[in-house]
């Protein structure tokens, strides 16, 4: 049982997931939901908070600095959560698929309240 109630996002589609009882599914890690929400948001696209999200504009998957830039923009996007103490000990793994022109990433972090390691992944 998680320490607080948060709705669970489908990591692939970004939609709410539902339980069998047709209610919103509860997330196991509320902090993971915060991370997923930020990673799925393109910086500038949220009218509520234009500073929220990942600045993928800076990343050129075909460039030589793609890996370092990706890690940098991911770290910058999640920095507010780190500063607020929601997550800690971030570890990034980034792969650049030059042929497909995309990057794949994985973020390991600690959900501070749950004291558990969690992983979020995605591509851009």
């Amino acid at each position: 049982m998680a320490y607080a109630y948060a709705r669970k996002l489908d990591p692939q589609t970004g939609d709410w997931t539902y339980s069998a009882a047709t209610t919103f599914a509860q997330a196991d890690s509320p902090a993971l939901e915060l991370v997923k929400r930020i990673l799925r948001t393109l910086r500038g696209s949220s009218l509520l908070d234009p500073q929220m999200g990942v600045d993928w504009q800076k990343v050129d998957p075909l460039g030589t600095q793609a890996q370092a830039t990706t890690e940098s923009v991911l770290r910058a996007a999640l920095d507010p959560l780190v500063r607020r103490g929601a997550i800690a000990d971030l570890v990034f793994r980034v792969e650049v698929d030059s042929r497909a022109g995309r990057v794949l990433y994985e973020v390991d972090f600690t959900d501070v309240r749950a004291r558990q390691r969690r992983t979020a992944s995605g591509s851009a």
């Binding site: 109630y5 709705r7 509320p30 939901e33 915060l34 929400r37 930020i38 509520l48 607020r84 929601a86």
Partner: protein, 392 residues
């Protein structure tokens, strides 16, 4: 200050989030309210809409009030009262003019308003309002009618002063309320306004003075050994002048002692005056007492011993009577209402308490008069008639 103050979106979001969290808490679940969780974003999005609505509502409410509306919406406020904006008149000036118009017509005729307005007048001390009481003596409730019962100053130790307000002074109060005089009684003087609501016809308002019901008070007390009565008994007056009193029998022992002699309550409040006997001469049938002072009138009735605490006791009883107020209607309606600090009933317990407050009174043995608590009739006030204190 506005009647509605729009909140900013952060305030609204925090309020919504707190309410949502409380509802979850009540269900035994902690809600994750951290930014940018789903609860946070939901409330933040709602707050954006609500903040706009509140700002719009705040502006709309302001335009509903003549002292806050501006521009053409202010002009609209002038249409119903037919007070158009003068050429070149600025909003603040026009607002003030509209307010003046409303203030003149929004007099509510409430008891508090009547009382406050009447007491602004220089000719009365205070007034009591009987809303719904029909002018006249029937004490019938009729909607739209009001009686103002006015009082002058309390008498204290001066019998010439009563709570009664003279007819000319009442006329000034009435003229002030009707808007022909100002509070100082100057016809059309500065501050003259029509204070009667338009819904109150002339005949529905009656301004009258207090009526009084006199009550004789007689108290029997036991004096402390330090303050004894100077002599005992009482003697009927056979004859009197303003300097002598003649009583039957040999009472030369009264020489040098104080007596209470009734000179009449219209000349001396309570009637009985304490005076020293200088000489007492027995002439074979009667004794002539020569008094140390020239009295206000030749006393009549009976003389009694004047106790040392007479003046203190008298003052205490005066204070008690001066705190009484006019009686309420059968169904209570008077404003201000009857309370412990605004009593109407003369209670024997209160008389006893007042008598005991005089230094030298050991105890009150009986109160022959009044024989029971005295309740005044509607609009009437109990006032002091004759006051006498005798030895138990």
């Amino acid at each position: 200050m506005s009647v509605l103050t729009a909140r900013d979106r952060e305030t609204i979001r925090a309020a919504l989030l707190a309410r949502l969290a409380a509802r979850h808490q009540a269900a035994g679940v902690e809600l994750d309210t951290r930014e940018p969780g789903d609860a946070w974003q939901l409330t933040a999005a709602l707050a954006v809409l609500l903040a706009s609505l509140e700002t719009q509502a705040e502006g709309a409410v302001l335009q509903m009030l003549p002292d806050r509306a501006t521009g053409t919406l202010l002009d609209a406020h002038g249409e119903t009262p037919e007070v158009p904006r003068d050429a070149g008149e600025l909003d603040p000036d026009y607002q003030a003019r509209l307010l003046d118009w409303w203030q003149l017509r929004l007099l509510d005729g409430s008891p508090t308003a009547w009382k406050a307005r009447a007491e602004e007048n220089d000719f009365i001390t205070d007034c009591f309002v009987y809303p719904r009481l029909q002018p006249g003596t029937t004490n019938t409730f009729t909607l739209g009618c009001t009686i103002l019962v006015c009082r002058g100053p309390a008498p204290g130790d001066d019998p010439a002063i009563t709570f009664t307000v003279s007819a000319p002074d009442l006329a000034h109060v009435r003229a002030y309320l009707d808007g022909t005089e100002n509070a100082a009684g100057v016809v059309n003087g500065p501050g003259t306004e029509q204070w009667r609501p338009l819904a109150a016809p002339l005949g529905n308002l009656l301004v009258e003075t207090i009526t009084s019901t006199k009550q004789t008070v007689e108290i029997q007390v036991e004096a402390a050994v330090t303050h004894p009565f100077p002599w005992s008994g009482s003697y009927a007056i056979v004859a009197s002048t303003d300097t002598t009193v003649t009583i039957a029998g040999d009472h030369e022992d009264l020489a040098g002692l104080p007596i209470l002699a009734n000179v009449g309550e219209t000349l001396y409040r309570g009637g009985y005056y304490a005076v020293q006997v200088t000489t007492a001469v027995f002439g074979g049938v009667n004794t002539v007492l020569t008094l140390a002072e020239t009295l206000l009138a030749a006393p009549a009735g009976t003389i009694y011993p004047a106790p040392p605490f007479w003046l203190a006791l008298r003052t205490a009883i005066f204070t008690l009577f001066d705190a009484l107020t006019p009686g309420d209607s059968t169904t209570p309606s008077r404003w201000p209402p009857v309370t412990a600090s605004q009593p109407t009933v003369l209670r024997r317990a209160a008389l006893m308490r007042s008598a005991l407050s005089a230094p030298g009174v050991l105890r009150v043995t009986s109160i022959p008069l009044p024989a029971a608590n005295v309740t005044p009739t509607t609009k009437a006030q109990i006032t002091l008639g004759t006051l006498l204190v005798t030895s138990a």
